[in-house]
Amino acid sequence: MLSTTDTAGSLWKLLEQSGHPFTREAGSLRPADSHAGAGSIETHGTTVIAVKFKDGVIAVGDRRATANFAVMYDRADKVLAIDDTTLLAISGSFARAMDVVKYLRTSFKLFERTYLQPMSLEGKLTELARVVKAGIPDALQGIGGFIPILATFDKESNEGRIFFYDGMGARFESTEFGAAGSGSMQIRGVFDYIVKTVKPFHEMSRDEALKQALLLLDIAADLDAATGGWAKVMPLARTITCNGIEEVPDETLKAIIEQLDKSISR
């Protein structure tokens, strides 16, 4: 029938109404002991990094996706545009992350087309928290765990902003940087070291920030078995500024990496 106001503007309610598995009741599909060996069927995205620079935010990810000790894919795109003003860097379960990206893209568009105004930043952050939270039962059983970093350009305060989440869906705003994925813990202190000894990320130019982010990625690749470096496939970097989202061209990345290769003592 035509009457549809109960679900107007909410993809979640629409999917719930139609019984779509994305919104299924927590833990209803699998017995609690089914996690044995689950890691081998699941592909994970590894390290992603987001740092501020003077015009916005830059997000960088290596291209590797792994399942246990196997490299499943070395062309993974883990820094994804959700809409014109939102970038999502993903780590953890690839399957869940892809579903979430599709969900958010559709959800934001549905809201805007229904209500004839874009969803607010707060609304978008809440949508993301909701889907992270919905993945908890899976994550507790050893699969489906997924941690995102959301980068956006806030036109009201005219600055880039970075939000990161824990596995429960709690949201934190970072003043300078965010990282997620298997190599992120190993490099946490390095961010602080850069801020304290070089300069805060938000004062850097794009290329300065990019250089530091790539260096961080290189350290993560050194210290984490699952993170790919840049030797085989170029990492992927996207920026978000007041002009929207742009991909950093391969040539720029190559030039900075060449510089780094010369200056880093191995």
Binding site: L2, T4, A8, L15, Y103, T106, K109
Partner: protein, 261 residues
């Protein structure tokens, strides 16, 4: 023979009721151009052209509550399908033919409810020009596909008049040229709707009117734009993958239509 319930009569009454509600609606013109597709209309206070999905837009005449209902249904169906399958699988043919038309037909035939007063015009931008299409959807669920040009109005005569003014579809028109052509058609349709009841009177005046026709169109549009707003929905073809919906209004259009007549 007396029958307690005559289906023809009942449907006729409902039809009359709906047609009366549609008669004064501001027409909507659909037209193709080099850069994409356009829906052109003059509205009062309420917005009239809406984005439905990545490559689909919609406008309608009728009761606002009914238009809103159809708009929401279309948006929800499209987004649900786009999420569960792929945005590539969302098409007007499915949306209009399988979701909206059956629901409208059912509502129209259901004697327990007040009929839905709507006549809708949908546009879909194909991957290539050959895939571009318009769909008109009527209050009784009937729908029809059009290529290149389309129009909905309060009366059949107004629709015929608009299509006549639009002429042959031309996908090489510039966007602004297409807007001008559509607006001329809109003026013709809107004037036709108003003058329709006085058909005889108009015939008598014909010699005089022919001379002043362009002038009369200009004056009519001027009057309409005093209380109304020109609104244009533009589905822009950017490349094979990407389409963008723009709502054009105000200053952007001022220069486009300044030399219309």
């Amino acid at each position: 023979m007396h029958t307690p319930f005559d289906i023809n009569e009942a449907i006729g009454h409902r039809k009359d009721y709906v047609e009366a509600g549609l008669r004064s609606g501001s027409p909507v013109v659909g037209i193709c151009c080099e850069e994409g597709l356009l829906l052109v209309t003059v509205r009062r206070t309420q917005r009239k052209v809406y984005e439905i999905y990545d490559r689909q837009m919609f406008s309608a005449i009728g009761r606002q509550s009914d238009i809103e209902n159809v708009r929401l249904s279309a948006i929800q169906t499209a987004h649900q399908e786009g999420f569960e399958r792929s945005p590539d699988d969302v098409s007007l043919h499915r949306l209009v033919g399988f979701a909206l038309s059956p629901a409208l037909k059912k509502a129209f035939g259901d004697q327990m409810y007040v009929p839905v007063v709507i006549r809708g015009l949908f546009a879909e931008l194909g991957r290539t020009v050959a895939g571009d299409c318009f769909f008109t959807l009527n209050y009784d669920g009937e729908y029809r596909q059009h290529t290149g040009i389309a129009a909905i109005g309060g009366t059949q005569s107004a629709e015929d008049r608009m299509l006549q003014v639009l002429g042959e579809p031309d996908s090489t028109l510039s966007r602004d040229e297409a807007i001008r052509r559509a607006l001329r058609a809109w003026v013709a349709g809107a004037r036709d709707q108003i003058s329709a009841p006085n058909e005889d009177e108009r015939d008598q005046d014909t010699p005089l009117k022919v001379v002043d026709e362009a002038d009369a169109d200009r004056v009519f549009l001027q009057e309409e734009l005093k209380s109304g707003v020109l609104e244009v929905g533009f589905l822009q073809r950017r490349d094979k993958q990407d389409a963008r919906f723009h709502l054009l209004a105000g200053d952007v259009l001022g220069s486009v239509i300044s030399d219309l007549y």
